[in-house]
Subunit: 423 residues, 2 copies
Amino acid sequence: MPVNANSNSLDTLAGHVDQYRLWQRHLDMARIGATPLGGVHRLPFSKEDIQSRRLFLSWADARGFASMMDDFGNLFVRREGSESGLAPVVSGSHSDTQPNGGRFDGIYGVLAAFEALEAIDDAGIVTRRPIEVVIWTAEEADAQFGVGCLGSQAHADPDKLPQLMAIRNNQDISVGTSLAEFLDDHPRVSHRQFRSPIAYYVEAHIEQGPELEAQGKTIGIVTAIQGHRSFKVQIVGEASHAGATPERLRKDALVAAMEIFSELRKVFHDPQDIVRFTVGEMDVAPGAMAVVPGSVTFTIDFRHPDPDILRTLGDQIAVVAREKAGRCEASVSELRHSSPVQFTGPVPDAILKAVESLNYSRMFLPSGAGHDARYIAELAPAGMIFIPCWRGISHNEAESAELRDMVAGVNVLANTLVQLANL
Amino acid sequence: MPVNANSNSLDTLAGHVDQYRLWQRHLDMARIGATPLGGVHRLPFSKEDIQSRRLFLSWADARGFASMMDDFGNLFVRREGSESGLAPVVSGSHSDTQPNGGRFDGIYGVLAAFEALEAIDDAGIVTRRPIEVVIWTAEEADAQFGVGCLGSQAHADPDKLPQLMAIRNNQDISVGTSLAEFLDDHPRVSHRQFRSPIAYYVEAHIEQGPELEAQGKTIGIVTAIQGHRSFKVQIVGEASHAGATPERLRKDALVAAMEIFSELRKVFHDPQDIVRFTVGEMDVAPGAMAVVPGSVTFTIDFRHPDPDILRTLGDQIAVVAREKAGRCEASVSELRHSSPVQFTGPVPDAILKAVESLNYSRMFLPSGAGHDARYIAELAPAGMIFIPCWRGISHNEAESAELRDMVAGVNVLANTLVQLANL
């Protein structure tokens, strides 16, 4: 017989979290797009991502949870609450990965929320509000499209749709086309409106950074997501013969790229090590051993929690590129500018309460990575729970997390969800 | 009625050089593999290169010149001399191009030699020795296979064949396989032995550098081909999340590549501007905007006319790579080491005599680029004739030469060939 949540039922909740089921589901998901080196290659909008949705829906269907999807493929699975008409508490993350990514980034947040929901269900806990597990579409789209969190952005602000749909990847395929093909293949579920009310949003995730491991803490209570700007730098020089062209007459685009990169490394150097500055892609054309490079394109990913530093330092990129291009010409275009987001209020409060009642070691920390929670925070009070990952390595096939920590994250999440669903 | 060559017949020879025919043939060849930007993309071993051979053979057949090919596809077209059994004077170059290369590199040397041979024929000049026009196979193979001048290397030193045949390109296709497919498609002609005797070898070519234009000279008499070493540098770091990984924990392979490149630029800096140091290719993996690069591979092309500097400076590359790899690991492999070659003796002497009798402005200069003449110089006295090219630009779709200079080159070449064929 169902019981209402109280401190008593919350005490029994952890006993219903099934670590073997949780681990098995990670293994089952990791098979979809598995790479030879033990990672996962499950790109946004891919057939593999459809497969992971099918698997997820088979588990939800077996439980009798209802499923809904919005027009961007964001997929919600729902356990009803006791009071009709109340907005749900939502928890989840994404099922897609970076190219040759890991087995935990994103999918842990989905499976942790689903495990929490099953544990709540198995414990027979009745909540006032419905609780939902969400898979956001195309969180990892930045590798192909230069912009991530497409699904949560579209859901939180449908006015962005025309702009998001028009973005094209290297093969000149638009987000709109990719999404249409994805939805065609997707299992049918009920329709969900964009911006449907959400009472609270909680996202569990591996830290993707080294702090929890370094500090020996099990649970990270996320205080903020840092701001994020990204840029494309294009340098045009002149291709010429590597054996015949003297240095004084060269317009070597790769030399210019190196000078710009090197100067930017100085400008972005931060003794406190809070600045995140990365050149992750560099294309050299024509790209032949005996040809002086005629053009180079590279990307810059820059993140910082302080909006002022994000603005002033980021604006230096175009200045440095112009100054250090030498005999070449450099142009800089900004691909993304996301302000920092702070997590305060009921969600981090509930997480802290859960951590304390469960007696896990914990720390407060900002998120280095971007997450869907950044955009859903525009719709509802939001927060995030981090668990440690091995050496902080992520977006890498070697990504790894301990089952012990994964279970701790589920326990905290389940407790938090019940608290919030009764607020 | 044929006449023997003497100063009289040499005087009339220039009158038989047909500039319109020469230009038309360049246009006809430039159509094979033409690129939208006015260049030529006619890769070694390609269907397009077969097409250029067919066109060339149709012109030779129309003249009644005999054709022969060795087992590496090096193609010879022959006008007989008056004394049987004498080794031929050979002139030519290559018909393949760099990826998105130009309309003159290589093919000018072939068409200049063929125009010279036709002019000699039209002038009714009888030479003691046969004169042959050669197309060497896969001169521009370095872009795909990391090594160039494959055909002339194989012809001059068949002992190298097993080693050359085993080289593989990025698609893991070997030179052996590429050559076999090329020869299957090639028009049939008589067989020619490797290392068949050659009396003298002359190669005409666009300079591919800026000196003739800068000095306002029409003809370059090439004194040497500089030495050439090439290397592959592989850097292994660790892919990680661009937003979450602090600088102090990164093993950024692109940062290491930049540090190495930057230091090498200092080490190879030459106030006299004789050193040629180029990084032409750089591959960054996994190559995603939000991922710290886990590995980088780049090539180094280094050339110098002095064998000692070639050795000592080139040997610095591995030292610098080790020292500047930071938290990453760098390894260096040498792909090529060709010593400098000097051109002295009868061939440059004959070229100088021709230039003086034709009264063209001229200068002596070393070749910055490598050429088939480098390897044929191991078989026979050799030399090269350069003509200016626009701004020294080569290995580029913008490559350009003036018809006036092209004709001057043919006049000098025809005169030189007749002199040498009567030695």
